[in-house]
């Protein structure tokens, strides 16, 4: 009677020791994560409930900062701009990436494929700041973009692309698309290499052309990779900062103001740490609200 009991007790002791040992091993990571991720996150939530300039005394204002977020046109406009950027940061790279990846796969054996892959991925290696500076030269009044337009007789279209109210935001979007196309292409290519070649063979025997093949085999098989691409690029669009900061700094007249930049200005120029924190919290919620459905959509039905 007593033998199994002691055995069970010993067993439980062993198991709890194992658990504590596990926590011990995890401790360095947990402590780092708690100190540098969770604590700042919670502090941000706390700051968002105060009116505080970062140095002096703070005043409790409850949800006032969030209320202002909904009523202040400048702040809500910046969020709309971020959504507009999704077209350029996600839509263009994913669609273009699919097209390019399919093309490269077709010529996979040739040297051209290697060159194309490298060239397309290069923007990922270049620091975003350098990319931003380079593009602001290309898009300036005397830049290559306008010279090309003039050369083909479209001189009337030339303008300061980043300084024009109508074109500044799309121009910033183009820079983002240029950066992200390579990443999407590479991810999608990796996904394509996992597709069983016999599927294509079978389709071809059934008389499918390249378009049918793409729609019926390639696209469905890439569901997860497309999910990753969309997730990463949507986050890049909503949390964009560096490209905008370098290319336009939010100008002209707030036409390219995005939440990331607004948070930075609020916190460090206007010294409204509370308001900046509230916008940051709202941005986190927004990103999660966009990304979680995408994750669910692409995970379900993949099996």
């Amino acid at each position: 009677m007593s033998a199994p009991v002691t055995e069970r007790r010993a067993d439980r002791a062993r198991r709890s020791r194992a658990i504590w040992l596990g926590w011990l091993f995890a401790a360095p990571a947990v402590i780092m994560y708690a100190t540098f991720v969770l604590r700042p996150l919670l502090l941000t939530v706390q700051y968002s409930l105060y009116d505080w300039n970062g140095i002096g005394a703070s005043t409790w204002v409850g949800l006032d900062n969030y209320r202002r977020l909904l009523t202040d046109e400048d702040l809500s406009a910046s969020i709309l701009h971020a959504f507009e950027l999704i077209i350029f940061f996600s839509g263009v790279p994913v669609i273009l990436g699919l097209f390019v990846a399919a093309t490269i796969r077709d010529i996979a054996q040739s040297r051209l494929a290697v060159v194309a892959r490298t060239v397309l991925f290069l923007p990922q290696v270049i620091p975003l700041v350098a990319a931003g500076i380079m593009w602001s030269w290309l898009l300036s009044t005397t830049g290559t973009a306008n010279e090309l337009l003039s050369a083909v007789g479209l001189g009337d279209l030339t303008r300061a692309w980043l300084g024009d109210f109508g074109t500044a935001l799309p121009a910033v979007g183009v820079i983002g698309a240029w950066v992200l196309v390579g990443l999407c292409t590479l991810l999608l290519l990796a996904g394509m290499s996992k597709i069983d070649p016999s599927l294509y063979e079978a389709a071809r025997l059934d008389g499918a052309g390249p378009v049918r093949e793409f729609l019926s085999i390639t696209l469905p098989s890439l569901r997860q990779e497309i999910g990753v691409c969309v997730t990463v690029t949507v986050i890049a669009a909503l949390a964009s900062f560096d490209i905008v900061y370098i290319a336009t700094q939010g100008g002209p007249g707030n036409a390219t103001m995005v939440p990331g930049l607004e948070i930075y200005y609020l916190a460090f120029s206007e010294r409204e740490v509370g308001m900046a924190s509230a916008l940051a919290v709202a941005l986190i919620v927004l990103v999660l609200a966009c990304v979680l459905p995408i994750q669910r959509l692409t995970r379900d039905g993949s099996r």
């Binding site: 604590r39 919670l42 140095i55 002096g56 980043l162 024009d164 700094q249 460090f268 120029s269």
Partner: protein, 451 residues
């Protein structure tokens, strides 16, 4: 398995709760030590560096050689003083100023707009020094912008900073292009200025390049000049210093803004000003691509070097012939942290900059601007016909007309980035009317001043 699934959420919850408890137990920034107004209220009075070796910790703006030249000369004359200098761009200094002054106060620091720093008790009150060193006998306008009242309003109250020199703004022009369009002398009235702009445009010369792109609203330069041509410089200063009841939305200011709009619509500015940054404006002007820029004498030395003999300067002409002239003029502000260790020596340095003959030479030849100090103090000789000579002479005119103004961009900490810059960019793009521009700026101003 069961054990794991029940305890993991529990542990997570405990961890989060503990963290929340540790971070949320006190309101942010409520420790009284940094905000104690008395820490800076008792001014010391003996400004000296003594004879023992001493190292001054300084925080300067990068890209401008003046402060470093001055510190080198100072060490030559006072070998017991050495320097530990940190440099950053002005935008970085603006963002860092409160934190640096609170955590790691330098003995001497280039300052952005001072009122909020004073409200937080971060700057040393220099009134005691000013009394004993005789700064109070200098022209009052030199120090006015650095005086801050208890509520953060500038213009009077204790002195919280000091200038290395003070700048003068106006219109620089390319002499060769000026001759080309038949401009023989600077315009005497606003109407004459308009005619010159028209002539330049008709001759195929870009009349004005002005930085107004990205986070810059350089149209504030011509706008404020026009405001002072149509109205009174004192009223503009009252608005900048946050005097009660002051408004920017006045009839003369509306006329000025309409005038600026007329310039924009007539094509007197380069078409791409909304994508021009400061460096682009300067390089185009130096390359001779346009006739005028609105800028300040901190460029005098640079322009005398790069466009020797080919660059002139005039103050914005008045609306009527013989009217009073005004210009934006501001000290190159340096301050001392309220908890700085070597404040006495830093003040001694600032006084030396204004009074030592060698230092005044450096202020003009390296800095290009007028030195601080008594009205009758020694003035270094400058080359005749140089733009430095022209800007220094303009300073005398402004002194006579009592026309020195601070910048409208300095009225509050956020007014430039939040209001002037986007509004002026909209005006340049034809997306804003002068009436709505002034109303919008005034509305932002009021909400910022209330805070």
């Amino acid at each position: 398995m069961a054990h794991g699934t029940t305890s993991r959420p529990l542990l997570t919850a405990i961890t989060l709760a503990t963290l929340l408890a540790t971070v949320a137990c006190s309101a942010p920034g409520s420790d009284a030590s940094s905000a104690d107004p008395n820490s800076s209220a008792a001014p010391a009075t003996t400004a000296t560096c003594g004879t023992a070796p001493i190292t001054l910790k300084a925080y300067f703006e990068t890209g401008f050689p003046l402060p470093k030249s001055l510190t080198e000369e100072f060490t030559k004359q006072h070998p017991n003083v050495t320097w530990d200098i940190r440099e950053d761009q002005f935008a970085v200094i603006t963002q860092n100023a409160p934190r640096v002054l609170a955590d790691d106060p330098p003995d001497l620091m280039r300052l952005p707009q001072v009122s909020e720093l004073v409200k937080d008790g971060l700057l040393k009150n220099l009134d005691g020094y000013a009394q004993t060193l005789g700064w109070t006998g200098w022209p009052a306008s030199q120090l006015q912008q650095m005086r801050v009242g208890p509520d953060g309003r500038r213009g009077d109250g204790p002195l919280y900073a000091m200038g290395l020199n003070f700048s003068m703004t106006g219109v620089f022009y390319n002499k060769k292009l000026a001759t080309q369009i038949g401009m023989t002398q600077p315009p005497a009235t606003l109407a004459e200025f308009d005619t010159l702009l028209e002539k330049a445009k008709n001759a195929g010369v870009t009349p004005i390049n002005q930085f107004n792109g990205g986070a810059t609203g350089g149209l504030a330069f011509p706008l404020q000049n026009l405001m002072a041509a149509y109205g009174d410089a004192g009223a503009i200063n009252n608005w900048i210093f946050q005097r009660s009841g002051a408004t920017i939305d006045t009839p003369p200011n509306l006329q000025a803004t309409q005038h600026l709009e007329k310039w924009i619509k007539s094509g007197f500015f380069a078409p791409d000003i909304n994508s021009q940054d400061y460096a682009t404006m300067m390089s185009r002007f130096i390359e001779g691509k346009n006739l005028f820029i609105f800028d300040g004498d901190w460029e005098s030395g640079n322009l005398d070097k790069q466009m020797a003999g080919n660059v002139g300067f005039f103050l914005m002409p008045p609306a009527q012939a013989g009217g009073k002239q005004a210009a934006m003029s501001a000290p190159l502000t340096y301050g001392i942290g309220s908890k700085a260790k070597n404040a006495d020596c830093a003040v001694f340095f600032l006084n030396w900059v204004a009074t030592d003959q060698k230092a005044r030479d450096i202020a003009v030849t390296v800095g290009g601007s007028h030195p601080m100090g008594p009205a009758d103090a020694y003035m270094p000789a400058v080359k005749e016909g140089s733009v430095t000579a022209a800007t220094l002479a303009a300073g005398a005119v402004i002194g006579q007309d009592n026309g020195a103004m601070d910048f409208i961009a300095n009225a509050t900490g956020a007014i430039y980035a939040k209001s002037w810059t986007p509004q002026l960019q909209k005006l340049a793009a034809g997306q804003q009317t002068p009436e709505a521009l002034l109303a919008a700026v005034q509305k932002d101003y009021e909400s910022q001043v209330k805070n």
